[in-house]
């Protein structure tokens, strides 16, 4: 810490702070246009000039000058005010004064400063710019006429998003921010540039002209898409969520969001939302009263073990607990599951065996504290973009090493110094086992490892996985495998990341054990910057696991439930928030099962394919309309409060389950916060949390690891068939589950499913980019648009799984790799 004087106030600041940061910490506000907390200092706007006595009263920029001991700083002498006024006058020389029609007005740094410094007349006159406004995409409008060239957009795109869509072009007064070849913006559309723009140069088009900043109510919430657990500020007006707002002080990600978080909110106020309970009468779904619908449902739930439930990991912890209670105590059935039954097995079965707990022994914060990141699948960026940003920053700013094993290349592969080892699809476990073997062979394991339970068995089992043997079937060289092992083991701190989800069948319990083995063998566990982070798919996937919403020994899992529906042993199926017809593997199997089941209850936001088959449809509420807690992938428990009032004819799932419990004669909880107290006392690591405390600040649920080495079984290698390509599925960058189909943003950018293939295969099959091809597998066929890209290796095709219009499960039966043929 250093001592310094700012405006006659004695203050202290950390040694690394700049004058600007030191002043801000101590409540002195220095005006600035080009500074953002997350970005490196820039020093271009020259608004933050201050006088430092030691520098003979010279005016220096506060944002780039580090503090030194004994500095005497003045932040607003008449000279400085004069200089700042002049900077503003110069900026306003070319800035169009169209505040009345600019959406930024009210939240505009330039406007605020102009007001503060009373620059009400301009002694200077010059011509305004006439740059063309970029309307090329539906999400981001770029009006360079309003730009003050603070460079924040270009910097955030480079430093954090690592896309580099924007940059300075031209020089002198003609300088502007542009895209390559002065073309329109064509990027990931995360909207980070919009969030940092101090003026109205970059605006969110979905929100354009919808409301003025000052008329919005700012509601803090938690994003309802992936498991990262990003915090949101929703802009609400007239009970409608109109936009997301930027708050650089929010969450570990400091307000940084991805495309679905920023632009995917429209499902909340969609006019496609269900507004009334529906009951099937004479083959048609007809509007009914809640009383009527719940009565019918309650009657059908009295079936004991012939009742089964599929929940969604987008429900709150409280709802999932209540759902489980309803099933176990009131219905008397232990047949309940979520996420197709396998998407959580890495935690519920894998980590449960390896670590003795169903949670990841690492947090997102460890990414910045480690020395080496070992990422399995480049898709980690697509599934969890904000974690991807953390990886970008770790690699670019901190020089953290990045090794990736994946079946295809991806954006993470482009990071400086990133090594991507592309293996054949489906061979993850073999590769990881070979790495473990290599660690043992090269004596890279920690000394005490042989005392860990299961060591002998593992050492024995790994004999079959020499790098040489594995290299033959996985496509990596033995040297590659040894190199990964060496680098992972020799790093001081190393963190493994891998995504799980319905699209990642191969990331199952076996793989998570194989991953766990690596961290146990090398002792990279239980320390800061070490461990394994299993990135769960949906916003409350980890919560669903923590709440125990997965089958116990006596219950059926999702796949067994579907089988049982088909053979008649399950007569009533209650689906809350899931859309199995689109998101579960093997569409025909799911459809047959849902057709066969006697009674299907669906609680949903939208009339999904599954809801359309139901006997009773109950209109539920989105995350923005209810209170409860979500647990992020690294077990950060966060409280959400209702941002808007719900439609009077919808009920939250909490209310639905409560009503059903009372109809079945049970005791209903008084409120979700009381239920949460019960949860926190019963759930490992949640002790001491209450809604009241979480409302103030989110908390991490502690993870208690009891390491054990488990022998992971590699699945049999997929034999290639001549003329056929190996298909894998997974997430597209802009989507999450099937919910993002109802967000305008994601759908604008990626409106439909596609098949992504390598250039070589495309050339061989004489297929071109944007062609429409029929992809056929043994289970069916599907017409898809073609995307020819450089990232896909030869012999592989990738089809994302989110889309109802072209569901990949029509050609995918849940195998990690499906052999398909493509025809035009």
């Amino acid at each position: 810490m250093v001592n310094l004087t700012i405006d006659d106030k004695q203050v202290t600041a950390p040694k690394t702070a700049t004058i600007y940061e030191a002043a801000k910490m101590n409540g002195v506000n220095i005006p600035i246009l080009c500074h953002d907390k997350k970005l490196k200092p820039f020093g271009a706007c020259r608004m933050c000039l201050v006088e430092v006595e030691q520098m003979k009263g010279r005016q220096i920029p506060a944002c780039t000058t580090p503090v030194t001991e004994g500095m005497i700083i003045r932040t607003s002498t008449p000279d400085i005010v004069k200089a700042r006024k002049m900077v503003l006058e110069l900026l306003l020389l070319n800035h169009p004064l169209d505040c009345p029609v600019c959406d930024k007005a009210g939240d505009c740094d330039l406007q605020n400063l102009t007001y503060e410094y009373k620059v009400d007349t301009n002694r200077f006159v010059d011509e305004k710019f006439h740059h063309e406004i970029d309307y090329n995409n539906p999400l981001i409008e770029r009006d360079m006429n309003r730009c003050v060239l603070c460079g924040k957009c270009a910097r955030i795109c480079d430093e954090i998003v690592s896309f580099g869509a924007l940059t300075f072009i031209d020089r002198g007064i003609e300088t502007k921010i542009g895209c390559e070849f002065e073309d329109g913006l064509n990027c990931e559309f995360c909207g980070s540039c919009i969030s940092v723009c101090p003026v109205g140069s970059l605006l969110a088009r979905p929100f354009k002209f919808k409301a003025r900043f000052w008329s919005l109510t700012k509601q803090k919430s938690v994003c309802g898409y992936c498991g990262t657990g990003c915090n949101l500020t929703l802009g609400v007006k007239d009970n409608k969520v109109l936009t997301t707002l930027y708050d650089e002080n929010q969450g570990f990600h400091k307000g940084q969001l991805c495309v679905r978080g920023r632009f995917g909110y429209q499902f909340i106020n969609s006019d496609k939302r269900l507004t009334s309970p529906l009951v099937r009468r004479n083959g048609r779904l007809i509007e009914a009263s809640w009383e009527e619908a719940l009565e019918v449902v309650a009657a059908r739930l009295k079936g004991g073990n012939s009742v089964a439930a599929l929940g969604s990991s987008r429900l709150t912890n409280e709802e999932l607990t209540l759902f489980k209670k309803l099933m176990l105590e009131n219905v008397g059935s232990s047949n309940f599951d979520h996420s197709a039954g396998y998407a959580h097995s890495a935690l519920t079965s894998g980590f449960a065996r390896s670590f003795g707990t169903t949670a990841s022994p690492a947090s997102i914060l460890d990414i910045q504290k480690t020395d080496l990141l070992f990422v399995i699948k480049t898709d980690s960026y697509e599934t969890h973009p904000v974690i991807g940003f953390e990886i970008n920053m770790a690699v670019k700013n901190r020089g953290i090493k990045l090794n990736i094993i994946s079946d295809k290349r991806g954006k993470l592969s482009k990071l400086p110094g990133a090594n991507t080892f592309v293996h054949k699809p489906g061979s993850e476990v073999s590769v990881l086992n070979a790495i473990a073997k290599s660690i043992l062979d090269d004596k890279l394991a920690v000394g005490s490892v042989d005392s860990v339970q299961g060591y002998a068995e593992l050492a024995e089992a790994l004999k079959a996985y020499t790098p040489e043997a594995v290299s033959a079937l996985c496509g990596l060289t033995a040297e590659d495998i040894k190199k990964i092992a060496r680098e992972y083991a020799s790093a001081d701190k190393a963190l493994i990341l891998f995504p799980i989800g319905q699209g990642y069948v191969s990331h199952n319990q076996e793989m998570s054990c194989a991953v766990a083995n690596l961290s146990i063998l090398t002792g990279k566990l239980g320390k800061e910057g070490c461990g394994v982070l299993c990135m769960s798919e949906k916003n409350n996937s980890q919560g669903a696991v923590d709440m125990g919403f997965f089958p116990r020994a006596d219950g059926m899992n999702a796949q067994q439930i579907l089988d049982a529906c088909k053979n008649g042993s399950v007569k009533t199926l209650f689906v809350a928030g899931e859309n199995p017809i689109v998101s579960y593997p093997d569409k025909s199997k799911v459809t047959t099962a849902l057709e066969a089941v006697e009674f299907l209850i669906v609680s949903e936001l939208f009339m999904t394919e599954t809801a359309a088959m139901a006997d009773v449809v109950l209109p539920a509420c989105s995350f923005a309309e209810k209170d409860g807690t979500f647990t992020s992938t690294d077990r950060r428990v966060q409280y959400v409060s209702p941002s808007i009032r719900k439609n009077s004819n919808c009920k939250t799932d909490f209310e639905i389950f409560s009503a059903l419990i009372s109809k079945l004669g049970g005791q209903t909880p008084v409120s979700s916060s009381l239920l949460f107290s019960e949860i926190s006392s019963n759930t490992d690591g949640y002790a001491g949390m209450t809604h009241v405390s979480l409302r103030k600040e989110s908390a991490f649920a502690s993870v208690n690891v009891k390491p054990k080495l488990i022998v992971p079984k590699a699945s049999a290698a997929v034999s290639s068939e001549p003329g056929k390509l190996a298909m894998v599925t997974g997430s597209a960058l802009y989507h999450s589950g099937t919910l993002s189909q109802f967000g305008e943003g994601p759908m604008h950018v990626c409106p439909e499913a596609y098949v992504e293939m390598s250039r070589k295969d495309a050339a061989n099959l004489k297929i071109h980019d944007k062609d429409i091809v029929t992809v056929s597998s043994p289970t069916g066929s599907l017409k898809l648009n073609v995307k020819v890209t450089a990232r896909i290796p030869e012999g592989l095709v990738f089809v994302p799984y989110h889309f109802s219009a072209a569901p990949v499960n029509a050609i995918w039966d849940g195998a990690p790799v499906t052999m398909v043929s493509l025809t035009k």
Binding site: A44, R46, A83, F124, F168, I173, E174, T175
Partner: protein, 432 residues
Amino acid sequence: MLCFRILFMEQVLFKHNRPGRMTTFDEYRSEGGFVALARALAGMSPDEVQQAVIDSGMRGRGGAGFPTGKKWSFVPRNLPGPRYLICNCDEMEPGTYKDRVLLERNPHLLVEGMALACYALGVQHAFIFIRRGYEQAADNLRLAVAAAHGAGFLGENVRGSGFSLELDIHQSAGRYICGEETALINALEGIRANPRAKPPFPAVKGLWGQPTVVNNVETLANIPSIINGGPAWWKGLAATPEAAGTKLFCISGHVVRPECFELPLGMKLGEIIDGPCGGMRPGSTFKACIPGGASTPYLTKLHWDVPMDFDPVAKAGSRLGTGGIIVFDQSTCMVAATLNLIRFFARESCGWCTPCREGLPFVRHILERIEAGQGQAGDIDILREHVRLLNHAFCALAPGAMGPVDGLLNHFEDELQEHITAQRCPFEGTHS
């Protein structure tokens, strides 16, 4: 007396020059070229070379006049990893052409100087950053580098000393801002040529994050003679005891012989004009001059006896800069001359910081309107305010650009006022 001094003046940079063509490698060698390098490699430690440069009192010839030895001493000594030397040959300042003359005539001097500097700094990879327009100079340099390679003065293990050096010539796309050392480093890295924030200074964190020294062509070309003749001798080449060494002055404007001369540092302005330049053109009388490239404030008749050395010129309210003297006679409209320079700077601003990007075009706008006879009463005050404000810019470009405006306001305010009151340029029609 004056002519005598010039005739017998010792030259170190132009000593080997051949009229009308480039000195060949063999000619240079036969006249004592690369002796300094061989001697340093054989019998001097890197620290001794650096000490010699410090003792010589050499100040950077690129414009700022920062003591070269001191700059070198900022490079951390025992840091692992590579370090770099960059020769700044992005000579784009209007009025300055000394580096071109030097390189077109005798590029070997630079190669030897760089080799010595690299030896002193422990650099194994050096770059010559040359502007695109200097095709001939770049060609000559390529020949010189190849010849030095061939003779074993560059490359692996030079002359068995264990010292290795690679020299790369980078022809830049060319922008005035690349002359700023951090912008030059950015350009060399392949990114947009914007200046970087200092600190960290390049000597600590420069090219690819490694310690980097950026020196001017002329600075580096002087080093062989410092080693050869010794720092004391070299320092004594100057005309005054305070100055050190010789300097290339490149003169343009209304003089009889507008050429590039190597003259002792500290020679008086009047001596230079009346001596080697052959005086003013017939019919011309001296009105003012730019002493060191376009970014320096004007000197006037009052400064006729100012010794052309860094400190005395600074005392006179200007800067020695690069030594590119532009002489104006009585027929020159100083407003027009300043406007001409400001046009250049406004165009060459990189667009990074507000005062420079927005301020320079505005100053140009005001000067244009004054010159066109539409000046307004408050214009002089606005110009004065801009001189102050543009000092707060990110790099030295904007303060430098305001040098001529500052000079205009200090020495020719009455001329400016005349433009405004008369609502026309008093020199209209008399421009030569």
